[in-house]
C-alpha cells in the first residue's frame, strides 16, 4: 500500500461515525471486497499516531453486545487532512491510471 494511504482510508471510514479498530478493518475489507489488505498491527499504529497528532480522538464505550471497546472519532484536524491529502491522492491516482492505460493500448 502507498505511504499515507492507510491514514486516509481510516479517516474516511471514521467520517461515517465513531468506530473501534476491528470495525474499521472490517469496513475496509468489505468495501474493497478484500482487495485492500490492512495489516491489523499497522492499523493500530496508524490509529495511535493519528490520535497523537490530534486528527482523531478515542473514548471507551460499550458495543451493541455490551462489551467495552475503544471507539475512535475523527476531529476537525483529521477532516481537514482528509480533504487536502485525499484530493492530492485522487489526482495522483487518476494520473497513474491514465498513464497505465496509455501503455496497455
Amino acid at each position: 500500500m502507498l505511504k499515507g494511504t492507510l491514514d486516509l482510508l481510516v479517516l474516511k471510514a471514521l467520517t461515517l461515525g465513531p468506530m473501534h479498530g476491528f470495525e474499521i478493518v472490517s469496513w475496509l475489507e468489505q468495501r474493497s471486497n478484500g482487495s485492500v489488505g490492512v495489516d491489523d498491527g499497522a492499523l493500530y499504529y496508524a490509529l495511535h499516531r493519528m490520535e497523537e497528532r490530534g486528527w482523531i480522538e478515542s473514548e471507551w464505550r460499550l458495543t451493541s453486545n455490551n462489551r467495552k471497546a475503544r471507539y475512535y472519532r475523527v476531529r476537525a484536524a483529521g477532516r481537514a487532512h482528509l480533504k487536502t491529502e485525499g484530493a492530492l491522492l485522487e489526482k495522483y491516482a487518476r494520473a497513474l491510471v491514465d498513464i497505465l492505460a496509455l501503455r496497455t493500448s
Binding site: 473501534h20 479498530g21 491489523d40
Partner: protein
C-alpha cells in the same frame, strides 16, 4: 471513564494505565477477529494463530513497541489534563462564589478596598521615596551643604561656592542654584517662580535644552555678566505660542531685559520643580555676589567617573574648614554658647534629600498602617474560608476516600481563594486609581513649606504619583500573595483530617483544632485593630490640639492677596502715598469692612527676620538676639484682631521723617525685657533703616508666623509709613464670604497698580487649613484605616462566635434541657467573645506601645503613651466586640432545646 475521573478529580492517567488501555484494545480486537474467523469456518486454534499473525509485531512485543506511543500519550494527557483541571478548578471556584453572592461581595469588596488602598499608598511611596531621580545617572549626583555647629545645614554664598568649586577634585561638574521669584513685566504682568543658576547647572543634572543652547560657561567669571535665560516649555507655549523665533528675543523680568537663549524640555522645571525660567546667576551686579556671608545658594555636583561616594564625602569634610579660614566672620561670632562655632562642608547623595524627613516618615507610617489593614482583611477571609472548609468536611472526606490526592484538593481550594483574590485585585484598581488621583492633587509646595516640611527636592513631588506599571505589578504581587496567604492555611487544615470520622459524622465534627486556629486569628485581628486605633487616636488627638492652637489673630472672613511692585514702577518716595491709595481703593469695594497691609502672612513659616540690639545694653547681654521683623500698616492689628496689650499702635503721624517707632510682641517683652518695662526703650533692628534705633511704643499679642506647632517667637513690627517695601500682602476683612469678594478686590488693586501682578489670592482660613494639612491628611487616612480595621475585626469576631454557636447547638440544647437559664447561655457566649477581645486587647496594647513610637515626631503635645487615647480606643473596641458577640449570644439563648436535641 475520563468523565468519571474528572468528576472525582483523580490523578491523571499514569503510564501504566495508558499501556493497560492499549492492551485491552488489542485484546478486544483479537477476540473479535477470532470470532470472525471461527464464523468463517476456522478452528479456534487456527483462528487465534491467524489473528495474532495479522496483528504482527504490535502483539508480539507490545511492551517494547507500544512503550513509545504510551509515553507520548501520557505526556499529552498530563498537559491537557492539567490545563483542563485548572480550567475546571476555576470554573468550580466561580460557580462556588456565584452560589454565595453575599460572601463573595463582602470578600471582593474587602480585598478591593484593602489592596486598592495599599496600591495607592505604594504609588506615593514609589514616587516620593523609591523611583530613581529623573536625571541621567542619578547615583552620581551629590548635594553639598555647609554645616555650622550652631545652626546645622547652611547654604552657600557665591564666593564660598567658587572657593569649593576650585578646591575640589571629585566632581566633573558643579553648579550653584537657588529658587527665586520674579515678575514678567510689560503687558500682562505675571509673577513667576524661577531659579538663579550658574552655567553648569543643566550639564551637572544631565538635562539638555529642548531648543536653543545651554548657558555659555564664560558667563561664570564674575558678577555683572550678560542677562541670559533659558525658559520653561510651559512659559514658551504660554507667552510665545511655542514659536521657535522666541530664541534670541528679549523677555522683561522685573523691568530688565533678558535674552532667551534656550527652551527647557517639557518635563523639567528645575530642581524646585516649578521654575518658569533659569536665570544666569552671575547677571547680578558684582557687589551683590561678593558678600561671603550672604548664604543663599544650594550646590549640586556630578561625581567624576571612578570617584566613590566616600571619597567625595571625605573631600568635602577637608575643604569645609578651609573655606571658613578663607572667609572668617567679621567682628567675631554672635553665638551664645561657649564653644566657638565650627564650620565644615558635607556632601551627600542627592537622593537622600529628595523629600523632607517628616514627609517620609508620614508616608512610611501610612504604608505600615494600610498593610496592617490588608493583613486584617486576609485574616478575616482566612477565617471565613476555614469555616467554609469545615462545612465541606464530608465532601472532602468523600473525595479523599475516592482517591483524590491531598495535594489535588489543596490545589482546588487554593484556586478558589486565588480567584477570589484576583476578583478583589481587579476591583482594587478602581480604588487605587481614585486614591492616586487624590494623593497627586494634594500638598502643593507652599503647603509643605508652611508646615515646616522643607528640605526636599521640589522636582520630586506629589504630582509624580500615578498608577504606573510598577504600581500595577505591586497590585498583582500583593493580590497573589494575599490569595495564597488566606487560602493555603484553611486548605491545609481542612484536608488534614481523619477520613473515617468525618465520613461518619458529616458536618458536625467538633473541629477543635481548626476552632483553636480561628480563635488565634481573631485575637490577632483584634490586636492589629487596636494598634491602628491607637495610632489613629493619637494622630486625631494631636490634630485636635493643633486645631485648638490660638494663632493670635482672627482669620475668619479675611481675604489675603500678594502684590509685587516691579522695580521702578513707583518711586521710593511715593511709596507711602501708594499704600494709602491702595487701601482707600479697596475700602471702596462694597462688602469690604477693613483693609490692611503687612509684608508676610501669619502661619507662613519663612517670614523675614534679623538681629536686634537694645540700646545702652552690651551686645553680649542679648547675645544673638534673632527677631522676626514685620512691616504692617497702622490698622493691621485691628483688622486681624491682634490685641494691643500696652502702649499704643502706629498712627498716621508715624511718617518717614518722624521719630522711628516699633511695636514688639509679648514674646519679645518676655525674652529680652525680663523685669523691665520695654515701653519707651530704644532698640535697633538691622533692616528698613532701623539700625539707628527706634522707640518701643507698644506691646501686641503674639501672632504665630511660623508653623502652627511652633511656639511664639520674638517679633518686632515696623510701619509701612516709616519704611518702604515693594513687597506687600493685602488683608481684607469682608462682610460675607471672602472668596466671593476676590474678583472685586483684585480689580480694585489693578486700578491703582496696573503693572503689579496680583497673586496668591486666598482666604486666610485656607492658609490656616494649610498649616495643619499634613496632620489632617495623616489623621484622616489613619482614622479611615483604623475604622476599616475595626469593622473587619468585628466581622471576624461575629463570624467565629456565630459559627461556634451553630456548632454547639446540640450542647446548648442539652444544657437548657437540664435547666440552664437563657441568661446563663447568653453569658456563656458573651464570655467567649470577651475572652477573645481581652486577649486581643492585651496583645494589642503592648504592640501599640512599641509601634506608636514611630509617631513621636509627628505628634503635637501628645505623648505616644497617652493613657486617654489608649483607654478610649480600648473602650471603642470592647464595645464593638460586645455588639458583635451579642447577636450570636442572643441566637444561642433562643435555642429551642427540643429542636436542638432532635437535630443533635
Amino acid at each position: 471513564m475520563r468523565n468519571t475521573r474528572r468528576l472525582f478529580h483523580l490523578d491523571p492517567l499514569s503510564r501504566r494505565l495508558a499501556r493497560a488501555e492499549m492492551r485491552d484494545e488489542l485484546a478486544f480486537h483479537l477476540e473479535e477477529r477470532v470470532a470472525q474467523l471461527v464464523a468463517l469456518g476456522m478452528t479456534p486454534d487456527e483462528a487465534r494463530a491467524e489473528a495474532i499473525r495479522r496483528l504482527g509485531a504490535a502483539w508480539a512485543d507490545a511492551d517494547a513497541q507500544l512503550e513509545h506511543s504510551a509515553e507520548l500519550k501520557e505526556r499529552r494527557l498530563n498537559v491537557r489534563e492539567r490545563l483542563q483541571e485548572f480550567a475546571d478548578d476555576v470554573r468550580y471556584a466561580l460557580r462556588g462564589l456565584a452560589a454565595r453572592p453575599g460572601f463573595t461581595a463582602i470578600a471582593v469588596l474587602t480585598l478591593g478596598i484593602g489592596i486598592g488602598a495599599n496600591t495607592a499608598i505604594y504609588s506615593a511611596v514609589d514616587a516620593l521615596l523609591l523611583r530613581s531621580l529623573p536625571f541621567a545617572e542619578p547615583g552620581r549626583l551629590f548635594d553639598i551643604v555647609q554645616r555650622s555647629s550652631e545652626d546645622g545645614d547652611a547654604a552657600w554664598s557665591f564666593p564660598k561656592y567658587a572657593f569649593f568649586r576650585d578646591a575640589q577634585k571629585s566632581y566633573q561638574s558643579l553648579a550653584a542654584h537657588g529658587p527665586t521669584q520674579t515678575i514678567i513685566t510689560g503687558t500682562e504682568p505675571e509673577r513667576v517662580y524661577a531659579e538663579e543658576v550658574t552655567t553648569a547647572y543643566l550639564k551637572t543634572l544631565g538635562v539638555r535644552v529642548a531648543k536653543g543652547r545651554d548657558f555659555p560657561s564664560e558667563l561664570d567669571a564674575a558678577g555683572g555678566a550678560r542677562r541670559v535665560t533659558i525658559i520653561s516649555d510651559a512659559l514658551w507655549q504660554r507667552r510665545f505660542n511655542a514659536d521657535p523665533a522666541a530664541i534670541g528675543q528679549s523677555l522683561s523680568f522685573n523691568n530688565q531685559p533678558w535674552e532667551i537663549i534656550g527652551i527647557l524640555p517639557p518635563d523639567f522645571r528645575g530642581l524646585s520643580g516649578r521654575a518658569e525660567a533659569l536665570l544666569n546667576l552671575t547677571a547680578r551686579p558684582a557687589d551683590a555676589l561678593s558678600e561671603p556671608w550672604s548664604l543663599e545658594f544650594s550646590m549640586i555636583g556630578r561625581l567624576r567617573e571612578g570617584v566613590t561616594a566616600e571619597q567625595a564625602v571625605a573631600e568635602a569634610a577637608l575643604i569645609g574648614p578651609r573655606i571658613y579660614d578663607a572667609f572668617p566672620m567679621q567682628g567675631g561670632t554672635l553665638t551664645t554658647s561657649k564653644k566657638p562655632e565650627q564650620w565644615t562642608a558635607e556632601a551627600r547623595p542627592l537622593n537622600t534629600i529628595r523629600v523632607a524627613k517628616g514627609l517620609k516618615r508620614s508616608l512610611l507610617v501610612l504604608f505600615g498602617a494600610v498593610a496592617m489593614v490588608l493583613l486584617i482583611a486576609c485574616v478575616n477571609l482566612a477565617n471565613l474560608l476555614v469555616a467554609r472548609a469545615m462545612s465541606r468536611k464530608q465532601e472532602i472526606a468523600v473525595r479523599l476516600a475516592l482517591g483524590a490526592g491531598r495535594g489535588r484538593l489543596v490545589r482546588l481550594m487554593v484556586t478558589e481563594s486565588l480567584v477570589l483574590a484576583l476578583l478583589g485585585g481587579a476591583a482594587s484598581l478602581a480604588v487605587a486609581l481614585a486614591g492616586t488621583r487624590m494623593l497627586s492633587a494634594i500638598n502643593p509646595q507652599d503647603t509643605l513649606r508652611v508646615q515646616g516640611l522643607t528640605g526636599g527636592i521640589g522636582a520630586v513631588g506629589f504630582d509624580a504619583i500615578r498608577l504606573d506599571a510598577s504600581a500595577l505589578l505591586f497590585t498583582f504581587l500583593v493580590t497573589v500573595s494575599v490569595g495564597l496567604l488566606f487560602g493555603l492555611a484553611p486548605a491545609l487544615g481542612a484536608t488534614r483530617q481523619s477520613l473515617v470520622k468525618d465520613l461518619k459524622d458529616g458536618s458536625s465534627g467538633s473541629g477543635r483544632r481548626t476552632g483553636a486556629g480561628r480563635r488565634v486569628l481573631v485575637v490577632a485581628e483584634v490586636a492589629l485593630a487596636l494598634v491602628l486605633l491607637a495610632g489613629s487616636g493619637l494622630m486625631i488627638r494631636s490634630l485636635g490640639k493643633l486645631l485648638a492652637v490660638d494663632p493670635g489673630f482672627d482669620g475668619r472672613n479675611v481675604l489675603t492677596l500678594r502684590l509685587s511692585m516691579p522695580a521702578g514702577t513707583v518711586s521710593p518716595d511715593s511709596m507711602p502715598g501708594f499704600y494709602e491709595r491702595l487701601q482707600e481703593e479697596i475700602s471702596g469695594v462694597p462688602g469690604v469692612e477693613q483693609v490692611a497691609i503687612a509684608d508676610c502672612p501669619p502661619l507662613n513659616n519663612g517670614c523675614n527676620g534679623t538681629i536686634m540690639t537694645v540700646a545702652d545694653r552690651p551686645q553680649s547681654a542679648t547675645g544673638n538676639a534673632m527677631v522676626g521683623v514685620h512691616w504692617a500698616s497702622q490698622n493691621w492689628f485691628e483688622t486681624m484682631r491682634v490685641p494691643l496689650k500696652r502702649g499704643r499702635l502706629f498712627t498716621a503721624e508715624d511718617r518717614l521723617n518722624a521719630p522711628k517707632v516699633v511695636l514688639i510682641n509679648e514674646a519679645t517683652a518676655r525674652k529680652y525685657f525680663q523685669g523691665e518695662d520695654p515701653l519707651g526703650k530704644r532698640i535697633a533692628v538691622y533692616q528698613g533703616g532701623f539700625h539707628t534705633g527706634a522707640e518701643i511704643i507698644g506691646i501686641v499679642g503674639d501672632v504665630r508666623f511660623g508653623t502652627i506647632d511652633s511656639t511664639a517667637v520674638p517679633d518686632v513690627y515696623i510701619s509701612y509709613g516709616q519704611a518702604r517695601l515693594p513687597r506687600m500682602m493685602v488683608f481684607v476683612r469682608t462682610a460675607g464670604d471672602p472668596s466671593a469678594m476676590a474678583p472685586a478686590v483684585r480689580a480694585a488693586v489693578q486700578r491703582v497698580a496696573p503693572l503689579a501682578p496680583v497673586f496668591d489670592v486666598r482666604p486666610m482660613s485656607a492658609r490656616i487649613a494649610n498649616a495643619s494639612a499634613q496632620a489632617r491628611y495623616s489623621a484622616v487616612l489613619l482614622g479611615l484605616f483604623a475604622a476599616m480595621a475595626l469593622s473587619l475585626a468585628v466581622m471576624g469576631i461575629y463570624g467565629v462566635l456565630s459559627f461556634a454557636v451553630a456548632q454547639r447547638t446540640g450542647e446548648i440544647g442539652i444544657r437548657m434541657a437540664l435547666g440552664a437559664e437563657r441568661g446563663r447561655v447568653l453569658a456563656l457566649v458573651m464570655r467567649d467573645g470577651a475572652i477573645l477581645a481581652a486577649m486581643g486587647l492585651a496583645i494589642g496594647v503592648l504592640t501599640a506601645l512599641a509601634l506608636t513610637r514611630v509617631l513621636r515626631t509627628m505628634l503635637f503635645e501628645v505623648t505616644t503613651t497617652d493613657p486617654l487615647t489608649y483607654a478610649a480606643m480600648a473602650v471603642v473596641l470592647a464595645m464593638a466586640v460586645a455588639i458583635a458577640s451579642w447577636i450570636p449570644a442572643r441566637r444561642a439563648a433562643r435555642v429551642d432545646p427540643v429542636i436542638a436535641l432532635r437535630k443533635g
